[in-house]
């Protein structure tokens, strides 16, 4: 979504995932002791604020300048946020402290109740996303801006409002993703970046700027990664997304001819 509207790759986006998860962790501990799914709520809100702050302080001023400057700034931001996590929560693995539960046997696969909740939550959020994108004014504005920012502005769509919405939505979803991921596995400071690269692979698979494509891409990657463990050494699991990224980038028609439409 961020790429579709703003046309840049935000390295710091991954940190929203991580922050979502860690903030939720924060709320499950003292003095709040909230159960995880309630803890997630304030976490989501704060993450959305972080996302907005990212835009307001770093990206917005740089938006009209050099692309490379923006990229480097986002790398700096990502490093900053990641180390902030390390500072506050340390570099070791953390978990939400669930008791390991036995999975239900379902056609040969073992699924825990936590994972079922995750799937339900994921579907729920996707449903919400769909409704927003397809049926609300906001969603339509978003798609219009993604298509052609200048034209959308002329048509009276307020860029500022849409920008806000994009960041809030993106942050929300990242945070949700982060919490869900952490529920399933664990938390560690690098989770932002690792998952960002996977997310990027998903985006590339589905076509940059296309939200549903990204969704499909994500599904494919998730499945591929976990199935691949059967074939190659687990240490290389992350390799799948990286390889995918490189392969996708190579076989899409990029390069001079792809952007030549702008030559005057």
């Amino acid at each position: 979504m961020v790429y579709g509207v703003f046309r840049f790759i935000n390295f710091a986006h991954g940190e929203l995932i991580a922050w979502g998860a860690y903030l939720a962790l924060f709320f499950t501990r003292s003095p709040f002791y909230l159960p995880i799914y309630f803890a997630a709520l304030p976490a989501l809100l704060i993450t959305a604020l972080i996302g907005l702050a990212q835009d307001r302080f770093v990206f917005e001023p740089l938006r009209h300048g050099n692309r490379i400057t923006l990229l480097i700034a986002s790398i700096g931001l990502s490093y900053f946020l990641r180390n902030a996590i390390r500072l506050i929560w340390g570099s070791d693995l953390q978990t939400y402290g669930f008791m390991p539960t036995r999975g239900i046997d379902l056609a040969g696969l073992s699924i825990t109740s936590a994972q079922i909740t995750m799937m339900v939550a994921a579907i729920l959020f996707l449903g919400i996303l769909y409704i927003i994108l397809a049926h609300t004014m906001l969603g339509k504005s978003l798609r219009a801006v993604a298509d052609n920012m200048t034209l959308a502005q002329i048509m009276g769509i307020t860029i500022k409002k849409v920008s806000l919405a994009v960041w809030v939505l993106a942050s929300f979803f990242s945070a949700v993703g982060g919490v869900l991921l952490a529920v399933d596995t664990n938390l560690e400071p690098m989770m932002g970046l690792t998952n960002l690269l996977k997310a990027f692979a998903a985006v590339l698979l589905g076509g940059a700027g296309n939200v549903w494509g990204a969704l499909l891409g994500g599904l494919i990657i998730g499945v591929a990664e976990n199935l691949s463990v059967a074939f190659i050494s687990p240490g290389y699991k992350d390799f799948i997304s990286f390889a995918l990224i490189i392969l996708m980038l190579l076989f899409r028609p990029k390069g001079i001819f792809g952007i030549l439409g702008g030559v005057r």
Binding site: L62, I72, A73, I75, R82, L87, G90, L250, K254, G255
Partner: protein, 290 residues
């Protein structure tokens, strides 16, 4: 005193590393975020060869060849991509390389790393050898500096700038932009390999943890802070960053707060990058005179 020598040596190694990235990023405009991969490849190549009993000099030369070769191999397909995507592709390559170091235990001993990498025979081991190693590094850095300066001031260097500024114009003037980019990356990779091998022989113990994103950020900072597209810039940047990085260890920090040091440094680096981009994206030394 010894510690000062150490900081100088590391600064010089990073100066070479930064100069190599500057050639790609500063002069040719290529966002190679996976540059650390060639640093690592150089380090491992040289380490493995000298651990197998070959002379260190041979190891260093081979590491340059291997790094350069890998650079060319990566460049040929990857450079068909436009800016942002090239950045992502090279970043992925950097991570893939690290995963390779981590998992191919038969070659690299994985996370355990390679200890006991020897120094060149005429330089003693340990602390006694430090001054000699420093001189060695200074000579190499000087050579690399002169070479890159000669290169960037030549018509080749000028053509690189043309490619950086406007690829269409480069094409319209008969310059094969792709070929120039590939050559820039190859030379950059060779030099990064040299820096890597120097690192290996200095630190004498390397592991995949030495070649992570942190190092990418560090060297990027050196180039960006010092001044992209200048010849002195990366050297200045390297000294500033490495001094900051290492001088921290001198400060009397109570043991309780020890674990905070690295993250805070990291946050400072991130913040510096952001502020630099917002306020003075060219870096400390400017490329063109006004």
């Amino acid at each position: 005193m010894d510690y000062l020598l150490h900081i100088f040596i590391v600064s010089l190694i990073y100066a070479i590393f930064a100069m190599s990235l500057n050639l790609e990023l500063g002069f040719t405009g290529l966002y190679n975020f996976g540059h650390v991969a060639f640093f690592g490849i150089g380090a491992y190549t040289s380490a493995l060869l000298s651990l197998a009993g070959h002379p260190v000099t041979l190891g260093m030369v081979c590491s340059m060849i291997v790094s350069g070769g890998m650079g060319a191999l990566l460049a040929i397909p990857a450079l068909r991509l436009t800016g942002d995507y090239f950045g992502i592709a090279t970043l992925s390559f950097g991570e893939i390389t690290r995963l390779f170091f981590l998992n191919e235990r038969w070659l690299t001993k994985g996370p355990m790393g390679l200890p006991g990498i020897p120094r060149p025979t005429w330089i003693g081991e340990g602390v006694a050898g430090l001054p000699w190693f420093l001189i060695f590094c200074m000579l190499l850095t000087l050579v690399v500096f002169i070479l890159t300066r000669h290169l960037t001031r030549s018509p080749f260097g000028r053509a690189l700038k043309v490619v950086r500024e406007d690829e269409y114009v480069a094409q319209a003037l008969g310059k094969n932009a792709l070929s120039f980019k590939i050559r820039a990356v190859t030379v950059g990779s060779i030099l990064a390999g040299l820096a890597g091998s120097l690192w290996a022989h200095y630190i004498s113990y390397i592991s995949p943890a030495d070649f992570t994103l942190t190092e990418t950020i560090l060297v990027l900072l050196c180039v960006v802070l010092g001044g992209r597209g200048t010849n002195w810039g990366p050297i200045l940047g390297a000294f500033v960053i490495i001094f900051f990085q290492e001088i921290i260890r001198f400060l009397p920090i109570p043991a309780d707060f020890d674990r905070f040091v690295a993250p805070i440094q990291g946050m400072v680096y991130g913040a510096v990058l952001i502020i630099l981009m917002l306020k003075r994206p060219e870096g400390l030394l400017q490329e063109y005179k006004e």
